[in-house]
């Protein structure tokens, strides 16, 4: 019985890993379809919860979901099997591509095509940012942190400053924590 569920977890998550293009949110739809509707491994509410947790924790969202479902079904081994299952297909595909990409880029048509693609990637990243900004709550502090981080990151990029985005994130976290502590102290004094 236990062996069956492990095989089932591995195969299901490999399938999800192989057939989902377009990153995290596309994968959530696939996981929902497979794990909630077909296999009934977790409920829809649990799926919503894990999505919220995934958004508050680092790492690929699909990995968080796979770990969660695997753990619920078969404990630690289950989480390991599900996570490996979802990673394996993309690992294999990219590993194969990495072996011949350089030769591929020497062909003139392909090189020109990639010059166009390079521009598209910038546009995609900008679109991701715009989508995230639209979803933000309309409050002063988060908007200010967002704007300051954007300006700082632009300056870091343009002048090639030696200040990593991780350091920037740590600063933002400290600022937010300080604001919270000051505000709750004020609130406590009243």
């Amino acid at each position: 019985m236990k062996k069956n569920i492990l095989t089932d977890l591995a195969l299901t998550f490999m399938k999800i890993g192989f057939f989902t293009f377009g990153g995290g949110y596309a994968m959530i739809a696939m996981i929902e379809n497979n794990c909630v509707e077909r296999k009934k491994w977790i409920t829809h509410d649990e799926m919503m919860n894990v999505t919220v947790i995934a958004e508050s924790t680092p790492g690929p969202i699909a990995i968080n979901c796979a770990t969660f479902v695997g753990y619920k079904q078969a404990g630690f081994i289950g989480s390991l099997v599900a996570t490996l299952g979802i990673v394996l297909p993309s690992f294999a595909v990219i590993y194969a591509i990495s072996m011949f990409l350089d030769n591929f880029l020497e062909i003139a048509v392909i090189a020109n095509a990639f010059k166009g693609i390079k521009i598209a990637v910038g546009v995609l990243i900008l679109d991701a940012a715009v989508t995230m900004i639209k979803k933000m709550h309309n409050k002063v502090v988060p908007k200010a942190i967002m704007a300051c981080s954007a300006v700082a990151m632009l300056l870091i990029n343009i002048f090639a400053l030696n200040f990593s985005s991780i350091s920037l994130m740590i600063v933002a976290a400290c600022v937010s924590l300080t604001i919270f502590c000051v505000q709750s102290k004020k609130g406590g004094a009243k």
């Binding site: 947790i53 990029n157 976290a173 709750s184």
Partner: protein, 187 residues
Amino acid sequence: MILLDLFIGFLRVGCFAFGGAYGAIPLIRDVVLSYGWLTDEALTYMIAVAESTPGPIMVNLATYVGSSQAGIFGAILATTAVVLPSFIIILLVMAVLKNLLKNKYVQAILRGLKPCVIGIVLATGVYMIAKNALPIMPGATFNVKSFGLTIVLLGLMFGSKKLIGKKISPIMLIVISAILGAIVYAI
């Protein structure tokens, strides 16, 4: 040692990659450029490849960088490193720290982290577009073809909802940009 560097570099990415794939791209760019593993250009190509192949973009990029630097072992180590933090954190949240994310101090930290990630992604997008379309780097010359292509692609991305009633998919935009690039830069 390259294997250790790969592991630590991508562990850093995995620990701080809030905000999904596009939140991770600036971090990966930081790590990859500071170690000198890939040029900015090669990384951009790989982002497009990662977007057009199955699987999480972060995992795809880790696999590629690892493989390009140290073969199959590099690929395995980098991929494991980028996945490990989220794996451990979910296990911890489920098994022991069920209320960790509800803690008000943790919430305050997250309230700072999330807008910062959005700002970083915004800056990265603006910078990558400007770098191609405008001669902002020293020694760069203005390229009419790149500038025109940028305007067209921006129009497609942000105008597609009005034009065809549906937002253009990332893969579709990449395909169109590849075809236009192959034509425009060959003339």
